[in-house]
């Protein structure tokens, strides 16, 4: 399902297998547990890189699992939405820089997972970003919109992402300011580029707690939604 590996300063979180890496209660719990592991092992200079195998980074929640419950489908949806929130919170709170290396498509909660990282790199040749909710008639959880508003600056970009039902390819995603890079024509290229960025960030040997605190202060509204305490009280700490 997913693995956590350490390569020098870099933690590599991989969504394994050739499937759609849909977020199901079990995957969500696994990812959360691995993030907690990374947090507990973090030191100065740690960096997280998240990627996946195959055609998909993640295609969102496991809707089939929800639907298989018949009348209980809505309950299962709510369960997934609720249990996924701590994953986003864990990423926002992680005491190290975070980089998403998109090997393939990222949709709905899979895209939210990507956007929760400090840097997002995707492929130029393949893979799209897709907020499918408007097409399948699902309302957005508040923290999804909160994340988009926090990370995507322009009104036009937000509309394209949330309201157009468009499948955004790499170059367009860069132009809209949604991702940082779509320069590589292979998954390996993207991973290599993110590892290179990761190493240059690691070399700074930043204090992870300070890093996380400054990161959270960039997104106060989102942190409120995620119940992440703002801890940048004006202090005597000049």
């Amino acid at each position: 399902m997913c693995t956590l590996e350490k390569r020098g300063d870099l933690f590599l979180l991989t969504l394994t297998g050739d499937d759609e890496h849909r977020f199901h209660p079990d995957t969500i719990a696994s990812v959360l547990s691995l993030l907690e592991q990374a947090k507990s092992q973090s030191t100065k200079g740690s960096v997280l890189i998240t990627t996946g195998h195959g055609k998909f980074f993640s295609n969102g929640f496991d809707l089939a699992w929800a639907q298989s419950a018949g009348a209980g489908a809505i309950q299962r949806m709510h369960q997934m939405v609720k249990s996924f929130k701590p994953v986003i919170a864990a990423l926002l709170d992680l005491p190290m820089p975070t980089i998403a290396a998109l090997n393939g498509h990222a949709a709905a909660s899979g895209l939210m997972f990507a956007l929760s990282h400090d840097y997002v790199f995707m492929r130029k040749d393949r893979g799209v970003l897709y907020m499918s909710e408007v097409d399948i008639g699902l309302p957005l959880p508040d923290y999804f919109s909160g994340l988009v508003v926090a990370k995507v600056g322009s009104g036009i970009a937000r509309r394209e992402l949330l309201l157009s039902g468009k499948k955004l390819k790499g170059e367009e995603a860069v132009a809209l300011g949604i991702v940082d890079s779509a320069a590589h024509d292979s998954a390996e290229g993207v991973v290599e580029a993110t590892m290179s960025l990761g190493e240059s960030l690691a070399a700074k040997k930043w204090n992870g707690e300070v890093y996380a605190s400054i990161r959270k202060s960039l997104y106060p509204e989102l942190c409120r939604m995620l119940n992440l305490t703002g801890n940048n009280l004006a202090t005597n700490n000049l």
């Binding site: 926090a150 990370k151 940082d180 960030l201 605190s213 960039l218 106060p220 004006a234 700490n237 000049l238």
Partner: protein, 240 residues
Amino acid sequence: MCSLEKRGRLFILKLTGDGEHRLNPTLLDSLRSNINKIRSDKSSSESVLITTSDGKFFSNGYDLALAKSNPSLSVPMDSKLRSLVADLISLPMPTIAAVTGHASAAGFILAMSHDYVLMRRDRGFLYMSELDIDLEVPAWFMAVIRLKIGSPAARRDVMLTAAKVTADKGVEMGVVDSAYDSAAETVEAAVRLGEEIVRRGCDGHVYGKMRESLLREVLVHTIGLDESGSSRVRNTGSKL
């Protein structure tokens, strides 16, 4: 410490001398007192403020050495800078920072508290240094950053990579309005811009009120202006 000059309708406020212009209580008091003079000048609502500096630094931030040797000075330094920034935000005239040297941390915030940021490209950088020196960033600094730097990626680069932003990079990022080849040219350009603004004509009082409403979130954090718009001037403590 700092000097104030009037050239026609332009007020030129300068951080003088060759040092780092660290924002210690004395310099902050001097700056505030000059801003008060400007505010009470009878032609203030038809004027423009230009803030600049001598030497290699615009300002290298708070006087951390002083705060370390005398911790009781930390709170007054922070509250004096908040008051100065609140004064700049409510000032009934357009403001231009002619950044002719390095501006770090609190110095960066001081520069950004102006309506226009003009900067030399041949030397010097803007630098939010906190991540590099293990310092927490005050919430009110973040309010300035969020309101003055529009792109989330640029905010991330400034705050989470401790980027040393040169003028040209600053223009690209939307942090700096324009870049010039030398300190002298930067100041000349600020003067030209100031004169153009004066020529266009501007009711400073209306301008000041509009700026306050644009930067309301900063005022909430600096002087305790609450959401309803009524203000209580507070010089101590945090809203958080």
